[in-house]
């Protein structure tokens, strides 16, 4: 019985996500709602992404400098930091922060709209809730998460620079040359494809959880928890799958 419910949920999720995406093409398109969501997801997440990225970059650089120092390979710190941030940590870190702030917000907002009969009101007024509520959130996440990831990557690299130069006493010139060396098409593609997928997953899972809210405040708490937990699981699993696929496509041997 439980398996049947899971399959039903997956089917409903898939249909909602596809209908949400299809809403981009058809009419009516809720442009104002989309801009509002982009502001909430993008501008609203800017400060926390900057803060987290800066400290992640510094912590990563500390760890690598300490380890490479023991091996006499300190000059590789920049390269290791660059590759790790651009290809792996940057997109995942931004996605996890985005989940905590934006995904949870989407689920709780839609959940309270369901419980307050606002979604029913939309349907009664002849407005498709998927077009009105889901599509703008999907678009905003798919556009804003990659932008936030780029900003986060840049801040992490700057954070790492501070540690490398002022704490580990390495050459800033060598560091920036290493960063420039890792900014090749393969690495940039490997790091920039992920946020689009993560954005789609976070928004679609969060909207689905919110719209499926049942049972008062306890149901709302459950919906928000589900949105965050399922989004995190989806990010981690899809990150592994995407990394494997992208390494293969881009010709890296493992």
């Amino acid at each position: 019985m439980r398996i049947k419910e899971i399959i039903n949920d997956l089917q409903d999720y898939y249909l909602l996500a596809m209908r949400g995406l299809a809403g981009v093409a058809g009419r009516p398109f809720y442009f104002k709602d989309t801009i509002e969501q982009m502001d909430y997801a993008g501008a609203g997440s800017f400060f926390i992404i900057v803060l987290v990225a800066l400290f992640i970059g510094m912590a990563l650089s500390l760890q690598l400098s300490a380890e490479f120092g023991r091996l006499g390979l300190k000059m590789y710190t920049g390269k290791a930091v660059g590759i790790t941030i651009i290809r792996e940590i940057g997109p995942v870190m931004a996605a996890l922060v985005f989940t905590g702030r934006v995904g949870a917000g989407m689920a709780s907002e839609l959940g309270s709209m369901v419980l307050g009969h606002q979604v029913d009101s939309l349907r009664v007024f002849g407005v498709d809730p998927v077009r009105k509520l889901v599509t703008p959130r999907l678009i905003s996440a798919i556009i804003m998460l990659p932008l936030l990831t780029i900003i986060g990557d840049a801040l992490s690299v700057f954070g790492a620079y501070y540690i490398v130069v002022f704490v580990s006493n390495q050459s800033g010139y060598v560091y920036w040359r290493s960063i420039r060396d890792v900014l090749i098409a393969e690495n940039i593609i490997a790091g920039s494809v992920k946020p689009f997928i993560f954005g789609f997953l976070i928004a679609s899972i969060s909207c689905y959880s919110g719209l499926m809210t049942r049972g008062g405040s306890a149901g709302l708490r459950q919906a928000t928890t589900n949105a965050v937990v399922l989004s995190i699981i989806a990010i981690i699993i899809s990150d592994f799958a995407l990394t494997r696929i992208l390494l293969y496509i881009l010709g890296f041997s493992v």
Partner: protein
């Protein structure tokens, strides 16, 4: 004309309506009474096609709405004006934008015409001064009145549906809402009011349907209701006598 033909409905494993049959004419003033969780709100949602029954048919003006798609249901929904429990105003929009919501959606009105129409509707329900307020700045009574104005903006309904319109309101606000409900049905327009407040139901309705365990245990007028021997109805009426 609304007809429920042997309708059964359940949420997951809990059966809410059991083989329920009833019919309501367009110009009737009906109160659906019953305890919490007896399926009163579910009936309104079924009429609008927001929920689908497990079995049975629901006919609106001769059309079976249980087989209709979401887009086909739009025409059915335009025949009704519903005020949900607590009003269900969009909390990110102010009063003006809430009332203007449908006018914009279907929108051929200029901003000037739209503003005039919104003010007119708010005047009808007596809250024209609340134009710029947000829903969380409104009192319970104002909330319901704005919700009524918004539902009037959606269409020219043949029938009104009210889900617990006076619950949680003080007697003065409840009285205002009851008067508004009566006023709006003056043009021989019917309504269905779902409530557990017998006093309010008695004030506005002419026909009373009492639900218990998903079935109709009483269907009749005020005199018949007062003579009914169903224990739950007697409790409801006792409360009424206490008020009177």
């Amino acid at each position: 004309m609304i007809i429920f033909d042997h309708v059964t409905f359940s949420y997951s494993k809990r059966i809410v309506l059991r083989d329920l049959s009833l019919s309501i004419s367009d110009n009737e003033r009906v109160a659906i009474l019953g305890g919490s969780g007896e399926g009163k709100t579910t009936i309104l949602k079924l009429i609008l096609g927001l929920l689908r029954p497990d079995s049975g048919r629901i006919m609106v003006d001769g059309e079976d709405i249980t087989t209709k798609t979401e887009s086909e249901l739009r025409d059915v929904r335009m025949k009704f004006s519903i005020v949900f429990q607590e009003g269900a105003l969009f909390d990110s929009l102010n009063v003006k934008e809430n009332v203007a919501f449908c006018l914009r959606e279907y929108g051929k009105l200029s901003e000037e015409e739209l503003d005039r129409r919104v003010r007119e509707l708010l005047r009808v329900v007596g809250v024209e001064h609340a134009l710029e307020l947000m829903p969380d700045e409104l009192s319970g009574g104002m909330h319901r009145r704005v919700a009524i104005a918004r539902s009037l903006a959606a269409c020219d309904p043949g029938m009104f549906l009210y889900d617990e319109p006076t619950s949680g309101l003080d007697p003065v606000n409840a009285d205002t809402i009851c008067r508004l409900i009566t006023d709006l049905s003056r043009d021989n327009k019917g309504f269905i009011i779902v409530t557990h407040k017998m006093y309010d139901a008695m004030r506005v309705a002419g026909r009373f349907i009492f639900l218990k365990e998903g079935t109709v245990v009483f269907d009749g007028n005020r005199e018949m209701l007062e003579q009914a021997t169903v224990p739950e109805i007697e409790i409801f009426c006792r409360e009424l006598r206490g008020i009177c």
